[in-house]
Symmetry: C2
């Protein structure tokens, strides 16, 4: 009988061999998916096919079940592998209209602008980038352009749009700002031709448009920009049509309230000045995640957030009512009214409904994933 | 030349075959890691060996690099596989002291209590569960017990501890409450023997103690409970020693501020009553994550949060100062003082230092992972 340490070494050798085979497998799989990507881009088939993905996962889950491997493990691994393969399918795309069609991206050297430019270039368009350097020549550059996308910072969007009174009548005018009513109104006023507002629901750090949601607010002459929508679908985007004013009302809750809350939270921490590293060391992963959601704000551009918050006077009324609720909650605490706290808590739970439970489950799953990477752990 | 659809079918067949081999590989690997788990538990070797894990990952990353496979992909997959294998190493553990030693868990049928009971049972202790049914017989049951762990809800902890004046002098008394000073004082006052306070930094839904951080606040006669600390290390825990009062001061920032903020945020949404499903549809993944962090609170027990927030009058002063900062931020908005907002933002950024950037990077990584699972997407 060999000693446990020797046994362990032998078993570890076996694990290393199996893991080596895993890497071999991945290399072979990547070679095949690259071929798939090439066929898709040549024929214009969509990169992301939800049905195929669902079927692939279901078959492997069934096999896993039979072989006593946890199906969730297999699904997690396959999804991670597929995410990578969408990235390496980073090849050419079929052009949804006439190849060589002229497309201009104003702000095409910004983070989101660059991504848009790259996608059009890889789809055989003639792409014109207009940024600060080209701005004086914009009028000449935009002649003959069939699609002009405004992708500049939110506070410049309206001013830039207002200058575009010289586009060809058949040019599609579009923007990608996170608010929709004001840019859409400005585009409709300045331009006679087709108009559409877009809100890509992803940050500029997203690897592409695969699986990403893009909100579409129709402006005018929908049929004229059908090819542009099809092009985004070819890139893998999921399009959702919405109404500009409803969209913006929601944005007040989503963006303004969140950023304002995080700002005040950060201001409070800064003023109280606790030892941040001790705070992190004493936090469980869920608190570390919450702290990270505040911290991440302050790694970004203050001007952007000032613009989002100060942009709209309706936001002020909303935030003042928020303050009132803050005061009410403090009052519960001052009067030690636990019963009323629990009553309100229960009402809010009812309002959230099943979503609260979904959040709890999702965030737990997410923490397990963070844990794999030792993210959000003590630094 | 076959048509693209047929080519695609052939390639998809190849992918399915490779994925089948992947599941086979996982089954073989699980068989080996189960043997590893058995050897470790029989000999008392720790379940989690950071050096072995680091070496395993480094070798596969190097191989991946050579074969043109993204090393990050390989690392992500291996970490996910290892997480699972720690779970299936869910076998017996070596007992760090005399097998059959009597251990009692008060509140052993609660979520965290159950986990502790299971770990001790799988380590060959004689485990006594004391919950409501057994409470009247507690004194008799606790005779001869060498370790008594109080794992009841926070608001009952002190009352329960105060009754334990009859434990044997050599019994180790411990608690697992998320605050430390008050329980530690109570334990030291009621019991003459060894005392230690623990704060396990994970929720009761954690799959075990592997890789989890446990904060240790020493009470009295450390050498008497050394075996208990070793037992937790055998379970895979990472122990961190801290000071009870510092720990609790940090908790006020961590728990109370977060929960209070989320409560007010939920109360505000409830009172404003926007269409929640539309809000979710119009949110990008990062906002959905932020909303989920609020929503998850309301899927939980209001009594627990009432206890955490109302427990401590020092918290009231902290929250009142928080309100003042809220008012100050509203004032910036009312007076349209963008410059001052940006100035404060910059100061707070400096205070957060590099941590803000880490948060930004970590949260982006986390969102990519959430994306694999289509978590936090439109429901």
């Amino acid at each position: 009988m060999t000693d446990p340490q020797t046994q362990l070494e032998t078993l570890r050798g076996q694990i290393d061999e199996l893991d080596q085979q895993l890497v071999d497998l991945l290399a072979k799989r990547a070679a095949v998916t690259t071929q798939v990507g090439n066929i898709k881009s040549q024929t214009g088939m969509p990169t992301y096919v939800p049905e195929r993905e669902a079927q692939l996962i279901a078959s492997r889950r069934a096999q896993a079940q039979q072989q006593g491997v946890p199906p969730d493990l297999v699904e997690d691994l396959l999804r991670r592998i597929m995410r990578e393969s969408y990235l390496t399918q980073n090849v050419q795309y079929r052009c949804a209209t006439l190849p060589g069609t002229k497309v201009a991206v104003i702000g095409g050297r910004g983070a989101l602008g660059k991504l848009i430019v790259s996608l059009f270039e890889r789809s055989h368009y003639d792409v014109i980038v207009i940024d600060q350097t080209e701005w004086p020549q914009a009028k000449a550059l935009l002649a003959g352009v069939k699609l002009c996308i405004v992708a500049v910072p939110i506070k410049q969007t309206i001013d830039i749009i207002n200058t575009l009174d010289y586009l060809d009548d058949d040019c599609v005018l579009a923007d990608v700002t996170s608010i929709k009513q004001a840019p859409l109104d400005a585009m409709l006023a300045v331009h006679k031709g087709p108009v559409v507002g877009l809100h890509p629901m992803f940050g500029p750090d997203a690897p592409g448009m695969v699986k990403q949601v893009v909100i579409i607010c129709h402006g005018r002459q929908n049929e004229q920009y059908q090819w542009f929508l099809e092009q985004m679908i070819t890139w893998g985007a999921q399009l959702t049509v919405s109404n500009a004013s409803e969209h913006d009302a929601d944005m007040a809750y989503i963006q303004v309230m969140r950023h304002f809350t995080s700002f005040v939270y950060g201001a409070h921490l800064h003023a109280e000045d606790p030892d941040l590293s001790s705070l992190i060391a004493h936090s469980s992963p869920i608190y570390r995640l919450e702290l990270a959601m505040v911290g991440r704000l302050f790694a970004q551009d203050p001007n952007l957030y000032a613009d989002i918050i100060f942009n709209n006077t309706e936001n002020l009324a909303l935030l003042k009512r928020f303050r009132t609720r803050f005061d009410e909650a403090i009052h519960l605490f001052e009067t030690n009214d636990k019963a009323q706290f629990i009553e309100q808590f229960t009402q809010i739970s009812k309002w959230f409904g099943d979503y609260a439970k979904t959040c709890l489950v999702d965030s737990k799953q997410l923490l397990l994933k963070a844990d794999d990477d030792r993210m959000l752990r003590k630094k």
